[in-house]
């Protein structure tokens, strides 16, 4: 595994896109914090970057990378290595390099400008989002042999989680405005990793507002230690489940 991981990592490093991604993130965040007159507005800009760009780049780069390394995978399969090992190494290499790029690019300015707890939450959720969307990319690239179709699925999933899901939830809010839906909403938010990450950061950013009316319901849920543990368990499940399905499929796949 270590050897395969080494080759994958080297290959990703040779491909300068991850470097460029890190630099882009850094430029974005430094300018966001530098241009805005107060740090909290900078944080909001960076929050949008995390919630939109990080998933997009992760899912696209990972999907394309998996398709492009199909020959490399075939080559490895002919060697005496376990199939699962190849897939896992590929996943570890990709997700760790994207997470590292995020950490170096956006993590440092966030840590410098935002207050400590908000910063930690933003960095952790950003890393989770990178890894989750790499896992989703692995799933969509294993679903179909057609590269265009695979990338299409990835982009659609990103669109769904980043944009469509919120719209649907908002629609539900209006439809069921007369009912006590606070608790249902908490469950619903677990269905989108992007939303879950946003709420976790929101509880730190808009702490005063979240202590208001229904905010208290969410604060009591997500703000407690158990709520945090549960949220991160759900985020972990978002990594494990798509990857496990793709791994199962990969093991049986006729290459």
């Amino acid at each position: 595994m270590r050897k395969v991981l080494k080759y994958v990592s080297l290959d990703i490093l040779k491909n300068n896109i991850v470097f460029a991604y890190a630099i882009m993130l850094a430029l974005f965040s430094w300018s966001a914090f530098g241009l805005e007159d107060n740090a909290s507005k900078g944080i909001l800009t960076v929050l949008n970057i995390i919630l939109l760009t990080v998933p997009l780049v992760s899912v696209l780069f990972a999907t394309i990378y998996v398709y492009n390394s199909s020959e490399f995978i075939e080559l490895l399969v002919s060697h005496p290595v376990k199939r699962g090992m190849i897939w896992k190494a590929l996943f570890t290499g990709l997700s760790s390099s994207l997470a590292l790029a995020y950490l170096l690019g956006a993590g440092i300015p966030i840590l410098l400008f935002a207050d400590f707890y908000t910063a930690v939450m933003m960095i952790v959720t950003g890393i989770f989002l990178s890894v989750i969307f790499v896992a989703i990319a692995f799933l969509s690239s294993i679903l179909t042999r057609d590269k265009a179709k695979g990338i299409g699925i990835s982009v659609l999933l990103w669109l769904y989680f980043s944009l469509l899901f919120d719209g649907l939830v908002l629609f539900l809010f209006f439809q069921f405005a007369d009912y006590p839906i606070e608790k249902a909403v908490v469950v619903l938010s677990a269905l989108s990793p992007v939303d879950l990450c946003r709420i976790l950061i929101l509880l730190h950013l808009d702490v005063s507002a979240m202590l208001g009316h229904t905010g208290a319901v969410f604060k009591n849920f997500f703000g407690t230690d158990w709520g945090l543990i549960l949220s991160f368990t759900i985020l972990t499940l978002w990594v494990v489940i798509p990857f496990a399905i793709s791994l199962k499929k990969f093991k049986r796949k006729d290459l």
Partner: protein
Amino acid sequence: MKNKDIIKYLFSFILLLGAGNHVLSRTIYAGAGQSYPTIKSAIDACEPGDTLVITEGLYKEGNLIIDKPVFITGRGMPVLDGEKKYEVISVKSSNVTIKGLHIRNSGQGTLDDPGGIKVYDAVNVIIEDNELRDNFFGIYIQYGKNCIIRNNIIKASQKEEYRSGNGIHCWKSDSLQITGNRIEGHRDGIYFEFVTHSVIWRNISWYNLRYGLHFMFSNDDAYISNYFKNNGAGVAVMFTRRVVMMNNTFEENWGDAAYGALFKEISDCYLSGNKFIRNTTGLFLDGSSRIRMERNLFLTNGWGMRIQASCIDNIISANNFIANTFDVTTNGSLTLNKFDENYWDKYEGYDLDKNGIGDVPYRPLSLYSVIVEKNPPAMLLYRSFMTSLLDKSEKLLPSLTPENFVDNNPRMKPYTL
């Protein structure tokens, strides 16, 4: 003798008479080893105008009634204990001064409202430099006039709102000065009902169960440079006219029904230089009219200001709104208030003529604040891409938010306050 000399002698005689009065007033000492071992006996021995010095020690004498104008002072903070049974000091005379006492454990009871120091129907009472601990009511003034409550430390640890009293409670009084007190752990820090022409200045009121300051039917008062923090529901000013509120700080009042300040049915008030920081709602206005607000700061609140549609003719100008989740919200489509020349940190317009005022009007009411007002759980979607998009398009073409809810001269730079 010339006429002039007669006047001179007469004048000095009058002066002498005045001085004689002072010479006649005595100083009486109460306490162990003194001529009067109990405070009660010392008070009985006092003539009007005497000074009563209570020496260091613990006194458990039940209810002390002061029914003559005396100057009472403690030496080394003597402790007067009400044993949770009695009202400690009842002032039933005018011109009384109470200074330097430690008063604790007054009786409890909602029928007669016992207090640490209670003033009944008196003029010119001064209560200063005392420490009041674990009393039901701290200092209670009813039908008082020209009284001064100064530099007292009032502390209790009351648990339930319905079984607790206020720190400084003033009822049907006039011309009071409440200055430099620290109040903690009571129901309301300072309570005013039917109190007029009074000033509340430089007090610290925090961690009280209900309100830091509570105004009811109290006209023509001012509260200036006070600090209110973390009270159960902030500060409430209700059913009152002509109140001046300046340079106060309202901080960290958190919860669904907690406001930095709550204004209900008040009119003709003036607010300036106040700071609203980290409250769930900074300022809540309901049924209030003709209030002028300028040079206040709203910083990092959930809702900077909630102005209900029942408010009319308020002028909100030259304030700073910085880093609030929502700057302003309202509950209806009617807007009869004026917002002008405020600084809004969310303003995205430009200033081509460089006069410091943005060329595009600013609509402080975000679409999402309207949505959340109608549908509170929607708060969970706040800051998602979808809602930012909705907000942006609403800013360009207002459809849901009231058309005239607008600041026509938004400032480009914050005011230095």
